[in-house]
């Protein structure tokens, strides 16, 4: 089995607030293998984006991060900011949610893509303006190539255009081009299609799939859309209130969901054939500063038992077809629910 390129071990992110410490991310373990697409699914406020930001070391103070973020076995949380900067955008690139506000309105799109190349010395040469014209020309050629690749038509003409002159889909493509410029091994996509029309969404997803196949870039896709994740990912982790509540291969999680939250999310996906009414999950994500004891999902859970409000539950392997079925990456389908332990008291396991 191949080594994971990125591994999160016991990752915990705490923000001190006036009302006490908030655990935005609580003991998350994840592994990303080369070429894999991992979906991180959950409602807003579940800590998904925080996980992505922590990988890049971009958790703003006073947030604290404990645990390990291993890139090729190297712990990124131990690196200095200077060392991290060399990885950001080059080894690990991020694609943000809202393309219009993420592109800098004051600079031409082409220049913003070129900046990525310059920051990581992708084209070596003199850096002092105006003596770097040859270098700039070479960088521009690479930018045009990337713009072409992400499907921005007439890149030469659009190189000097500003973000507001682009449509939403084009802005998202430009953002992907910024991420792709340095050929990163890992793409972190934070709800890249949420701000877009459905048709454009499909195009962007197809583009990311192509990037995954042609460049072999591993992708972590953060989304609240389990349907999208089912379509696009080969591995899914469902997060709730800062914890992973279910994780496994896409088929395992979608076809045999174990956690009531995963089941609830699945019931929220419209089905065009059956046209059954949607069944929303009642309530909303709890305030992370005042988490209920026991299972965080308990107050919203349709299968609530009194023991759910007590103790802490580990991720348990799911028994499938009579045995613990291994995922291709060597991981098993796991869920964090009392049902898997047969409603025994938590002390028992």
């Amino acid at each position: 089995m191949a080594q994971p390129i990125l591994e999160l071990r016991n990752l915990t992110i705490v923000f001190p607030t006036r009302r006490g410490e908030v655990r935005a991310v609580d003991a998350v373990n994840l592994a990303l293998y080369p070429g894999q697409i991992l979906g991180l699914v959950g409602e807003s406020g579940c800590g998904k984006s925080t996980v992505l930001l922590s990988i890049l070391g971009l958790i703003a103070r006073p947030g604290r991060i404990t645990g390990e973020v291993l890139l090729d076995g190297r712990d990124l949380t131990k690196l200095s900011n200077r060392e991290l900067r060399k990885l950001r955008g080059k080894e690990i690139a991020m694609i943000f949610q809202d393309p219009l506000s993420t592109l800098n309105p004051a600079f031409p799109v082409g220049e913003q893509i070129r900046e990525s190349l310059r920051l990581h010395n992708m084209v070596p040469g003199p850096w002092l303006w105006p003596f770097d014209s040859g270098r700039r020309w070479q960088e521009k050629q690479r930018v045009l190539q990337v713009m072409e690749e992400v499907g921005i038509p007439a890149p030469e003409a659009r190189y000097r255009a500003y973000p507001h002159q682009f449509s939403g889909g084009m802005q998202q493509r430009a953002l992907i081009a910024i991420g792709l410029a340095c050929n990163p091994r890992i793409l972190l996509a934070d709800e890249p299609t949420t701000a877009l029309d459905v048709t454009i969404q499909a195009q962007i997803i197809a583009l990311m799939k192509r990037i995954n196949q042609e460049h072999g870039a591993a992708i972590i896709l953060v989304t609240h859309d389990l349907g999208l994740a089912a379509e696009f990912c080969d591995h899914i982790a469902v997060m709730y209130a800062g914890r992973i509540v279910e994780i496994g291969g896409v088929d395992q999680v979608i076809e045999n969901p174990q956690h009531p939250y995963t089941q609830g999310l699945l019931r929220c996906i419209p089905n065009l054939k059956e046209r059954r009414p949607l069944q929303p999950i009642p309530g909303s994500v709890p305030d992370l500063a005042e988490l209920p004891p026991g299972c965080a999902f308990a107050p919203r859970c349709p299968e609530f038992r009194s023991v759910c409000a007590e103790g802490f539950f580990r991720l348990q392997p799911v028994i499938e077809d009579g045995h613990k079925k291994a995922h291709r990456s060597g991981e098993v389908h796991m869920a964090r629910c009392l049902r898997l332990t047969g409603y025994r008291m938590p002390e028992d396991d």
Partner: protein, 336 residues
């Protein structure tokens, strides 16, 4: 393309200037107090004949609309008439004083921006830190402190007690400087006069600080708040995620966008600098336009006041035009 737009804007400024001319003309004549009476009051014994002669000399005996027409057509030819009190062409009087005023305004602006930019940026980056709180308290002080008092305070400290800087004037009495443009700092550089350069800069220092303190305070506050907004933006997050240094994220990505509202305020400060200079010029004995205008207003010297106001109005219009042009460079969403 941009040049055409600038020309268009310049043409659009003409009706504004005409409007200013008409208003200042009417307001001067609506103000109680007759210029000839005021002049004669100082002279003592005068006959009715002499008064009549002066009135016709100043065209004050003509009907109002004729006087206005004379004034406007004079402006078209660049002729602002003769000063009642000084018996010399207004244009000449203003030309003598204007360089001093502009030099002071520029000095104040340079001081204001040099102080405001580091303070505004650092307080935004270190929001709520001690630096931030002290800077903002200082800015509040800068806005609240009346310039005449600040000026006197500075003179007391730096001129009287420490004896570092001169009390008043534009240049030392013992320093010889050949006038080329009327801007003493520029003239000293042009003529290669080191001694005059140092002397004129030393004289410029305190008035610039006095006049520029308010500018520094206002610009620092605006810059801080717009920097705070820009630093929280997604594009700064993207810059960091791309691998940009913290310096580049702040100084390039955030500052560039924070400049947009700041430039507007800086443009408006030009008006403050022109208005405020009357007081500062009085405190520091600065031979600028401000004092000339104040004297002219008290003497009801119609042509001189009108001429000076026209210059003020023109400067303000020009400053706004410059801001608008800068805007198109700073904010690509705006076309002129």
């Amino acid at each position: 393309m941009r040049l055409v737009k600038i020309l268009e804007r310049l043409l659009a400024a003409i009706p504004i200037m005409v409007g200013v001319a008409v208003i200042v003309f009417l307001f001067m004549r609506l103000t109680p107090g007759d210029p000839v009476d005021i002049m004669m009051g100082q002279g003592g014994m005068v006959t009715a004949g002499e008064i009549e002669r002066l009135r016709s000399e100043f065209n004050l005996d003509k009907p109002l609309h004729e006087q206005l027409a004379l004034f406007l057509f004079g402006l078209l030819r660049g002729d602002m008439g003769n000063s009642f009190t000084k018996q010399r062409p207004v244009a000449q009087l203003i030309a003598e004083r204007l360089p001093a005023t502009i030099e002071l305004a520029l000095g104040a602006m340079v001081f204001g921006l040099l102080v405001a930019f580091p303070i505004g940026i650092v307080s935004a980056v270190r929001q709520n830190s001690l630096t931030d709180r002290l800077s903002m308290a200082g800015a509040f002080l800068g806005i609240s402190m009346p310039p005449f008092w600040l000026g006197i305070l500075l003179i007391l400290i730096f001129s009287v007690h420490l004896k570092w800087l001169p009390v008043q004037g534009r240049i030392g009495a013992d320093v010889h400087l050949t006038t080329v443009t009327g801007f003493y700092v520029l003239d000293s550089i042009l003529t290669g006069n080191r001694e005059a350069l140092i002397s004129s800069l030393r004289h410029l220092a305190l008035p610039s600080v006095t006049l520029g303190a308010a500018v520094a305070a206002i610009v620092a506050r605006v810059l801080r708040s717009s920097m705070l907004e820009c630093l929280r933006s997604d594009y700064v997050k993207l810059a960091r995620a791309k691998g940009a240094s913290e310096f580049s994220a702040v100084a390039k990505h955030a500052l560039r966008n924070a400049l947009i509202p700041t430039v507007t305020v800086v443009g408006l400060q030009v008006g403050v600098l022109l208005g405020g200079n009357m007081i500062v010029e009085a405190v520091f004995g600065w031979p600028g336009l401000g004092r000339l205008v104040v004297d002219a207003i008290f003497a009801r010297d119609f042509p001189l006041v009108q001429g000076a106001v026209m210059i003020y109005a023109f400067t303000f219009v020009a400053a706004n035009l410059i801001v608008d042009v800068l805007y198109t460079y700073l904010n690509p969403k705006i076309e002129m």
